[in-house]
């Protein structure tokens, strides 16, 4: 691709005729990483590791540097826990598989749930959605439209009712109907609001009355255009809900979502899905290699 060459050709120019990777190369690298929201701290770490490797290996040409870079950055991204089951299948003995979806306001939780439900359904699973965002204007209507679009059932109550009661109902209904997957939508909340974060702990506790191991998955949704605040989001949501997987949305824009490198570096939470649009099919299973590649595309 042309765009990718843009970045690497700058590196090529910078190291032409040189036997080491010099300041200029590293500066370019710093700019590329920081501009993708990777953050200063993680960027500096990556650069230090590159410097070390380059010193060890003496001469490094561009192709090798390219490789080295990709390796170092990929090394930071943790793998999703060993999956011995197919994508959108559910692990043995975890039926109904309960997924709790959390995140700050407007990141794409409800939309991601619609897309997830669609994928599970395509994989032959019976899905139930739980409309536990009883707060935001028309949140229940929005999830209802998604449930109709996908063709799955939904558990809901009146606006303003207790979100944990809705979550409880959802899991109970999933058990009763022998459903495979229950996906619970929650209201967007900023991680610095203690009372709203407590509400999430309560949802968890209430679900656990029915299934002690549930939620089997706590999915933190991050907006791919968010900057360094995403690190704080990951920290606070993990502290309250034991986040087990991340989805990054809106990567169909020009933002690179590089902040997940900083998050992976500090919290070791795997990225599972990425959102690349508003349509039902716009969900992709995260691929480290492709992601790292995209970090260096200009534009």
């Amino acid at each position: 691709q042309k765009t990718k060459e843009g970045f690497f050709s700058r590196i090529t120019k910078a190291i032409a005729g040189k036997s080491t990777v010099d300041e200029e190369v590293l500066d370019n690298l710093e700019e590329a990483l920081v501009s993708a929201d990777v953050g200063i701290e993680t960027t500096v770490q990556i650069i230090e590791r590159i410097e070390k490797r380059v010193k060890q290996d003496k001469y490094v040409n561009t192709a090798e540097l390219n490789n080295l870079l990709q390796q170092e950055i990929e090394a930071i991204l943790v793998d999703a826990p060993e999956q011995n089951y197919k994508d959108f299948d559910i692990p043995e003995g975890k039926k109904p598989y309960v997924i709790l979806v959390v995140g700050v306001n407007g990141v794409g939780k409800t939309t991601t749930i619609g897309k997830l439900a669609h994928n599970y359904k395509k994989a032959g699973k019976q899905v139930i959605l739980g409309a536990a965002d009883t707060f935001r204007a028309a949140a229940v209507d929005q999830l209802t439209i998604w449930s109709e679009r996908v063709g799955v059932s939904i558990v809901k109550q009146a606006m303003g009712s207790d979100p944990s009661a809705v979550a409880y109902d959802t899991v109970q209904s999933a058990i009763a109907k022998n459903a495979d997957v229950a996906i619970i939508d929650t209201a967007g909340r900023l991680h610095n609001k203690a009372h709203l974060m407590d509400e999430l702990s309560k949802i968890r506790r209430v679900i656990q009355k029915l299934i002690p191991q549930a939620p089997h998955e706590v999915m933190l949704v991050l907006d791919g255009s968010t900057g360094q605040n995403a690190v704080e989001q990951a920290k606070q949501f993990t502290a309250t809900t034991d986040v087990s997987a991340i989805s990054i949305t809106k990567l169909d824009g020009t933002a690179k979502g590089g902040v997940v490198l900083a998050i992976a570096n500090q919290f070791k939470i795997p990225v599972k899905y990425i959102g690349v649009g508003e349509k039902i099919d716009d969900l992709i299973i995260f691929d480290k290699h492709e992601f790292v590649d995209s970090l260096f595309k200009l534009g």
């Binding site: 200063i40 306001n105 407007g106 935001r136 204007a137 209507d141 255009s225 605040n229 704080e232 824009g253």
Partner: protein
């Protein structure tokens, strides 16, 4: 994470202590640390660089008078520069025209619909206006329902056409409705869109053309990272918007995107939104924002220590 700024600057300022003048050498590390602090606050990489270079230019040669340490002097220069950059001339909000037309645009999930409700509340309660909300988001599931609920909450009317798939026509029809019903402000809520989505950008440009708004407000999430520059530029190229709205400032983001946007498109920030309730709207204070970006809580203690 937030402590690192004060820690970094503190050690950097220690190096400056006891010097009579700020010079190229003794200021280098401080400038670098300020730059990193700005980038940590999500100020665009290139802008942070340009900004700190300018600050350095201002600082070098400044004589350090007895009463003030070099560190304090640097902090002052940085804060003043930043405040000036964020502010400029006092931003007026234009509600001329009958009805005055206000167009709202921005990325998906930035807070447009919520802001539309808040602005209606503000104009109704603070300016004695009679607003009509227009549901021109024909794409997002339940977008009309959402705006309807908010209109009810603030007690204003809404115009929507559930079967119409032409946002431009809806906006035009709303003007007729406003005239018929004696509404003196109409606020048009549009669908979220990506700057690179050609068809969607054309749609909102067409709405602008058709209704000739008094104000076009670009709504942006204050948590946005480095890409804020590209987005703001692209929206401005297409809409030549008249002001910026910063949302979700009730979070703990430093909000460096605000600086990047101001720097890039030089349009005033007219409102800040800080909550989900309809009365959480405020006008913009440049100095507060400058302090927030710098983590001024830290800076004030630093000045005391310096």
């Amino acid at each position: 994470m937030f402590n690192s700024l004060s820690e970094k600057l503190e050690s950097a300022f220690k190096n400056l202590r006891g010097e009579a003048r700020i010079n190229d050498l003794n200021v280098a590390n401080t400038v670098k640390d300020i730059r990193r602090a700005l980038i940590d606050a999500d100020v665009n990489f290139k802008i942070a660089k340009e900004f700190t270079d300018k600050v350095k230019e201002k600082a070098v040669g400044e004589k350090v008078i007895n009463a003030i340490s070099p560190g304090q002097l640097m902090v002052k220069i940085v804060k003043d520069e930043l405040t000036e950059l964020m502010g400029g001339t006092e931003a007026q909000f234009n509600i001329t025209g009958n009805p005055a037309i206000i167009l709202i645009a921005g990325l998906q999930g930035s807070g447009k619909t919520t802001f539309t409700g808040k602005l209606a509340h503000y104009l109704k309660t603070k300016k004695g206006k009679s607003p009509l909300l227009v549901a021109a988001d024909i794409y997002r599931p339940a977008a009309i329902d959402q705006l309807t609920v908010l209109a009810e909450q603030v007690g204003v009317d809404i115009y929507s056409e559930r079967e119409n798939k032409d946002a431009v026509a809806i906006a035009q029809n709303a003007i007729k409705e406003a005239k018929a019903k004696n509404k003196n402000v109409i606020i048009i809520d549009t669908a979220g869109r990506l700057a690179i989505d050609e068809a969607m950008m054309t749609e909102v440009a067409n709405i602008k053309q058709a209704v000739n708004p008094a104000e076009i407000l670009f709504v942006v999430d204050s948590m946005t990272g480095q890409d804020a520059v590209n987005t703001a530029k692209a929206f401005n190229d297409r809409l030549d918007f008249s002001g910026v709205v910063l949302t979700k400032l009730d979070g703990d983001t430093r909000g460096g995107a605000a600086l990047s946007i101001k720097y890039t498109v030089n349009k005033p920030i007219k409102f800040v939104s800080s909550g989900e309730k309809m009365d959480t709207l405020d006008v913009f204070y440049p100095e507060r924002m400058a302090q927030r970006i710098l983590g001024m809580g830290d800076i004030t203690t630093l000045v005391e220590k310096a």
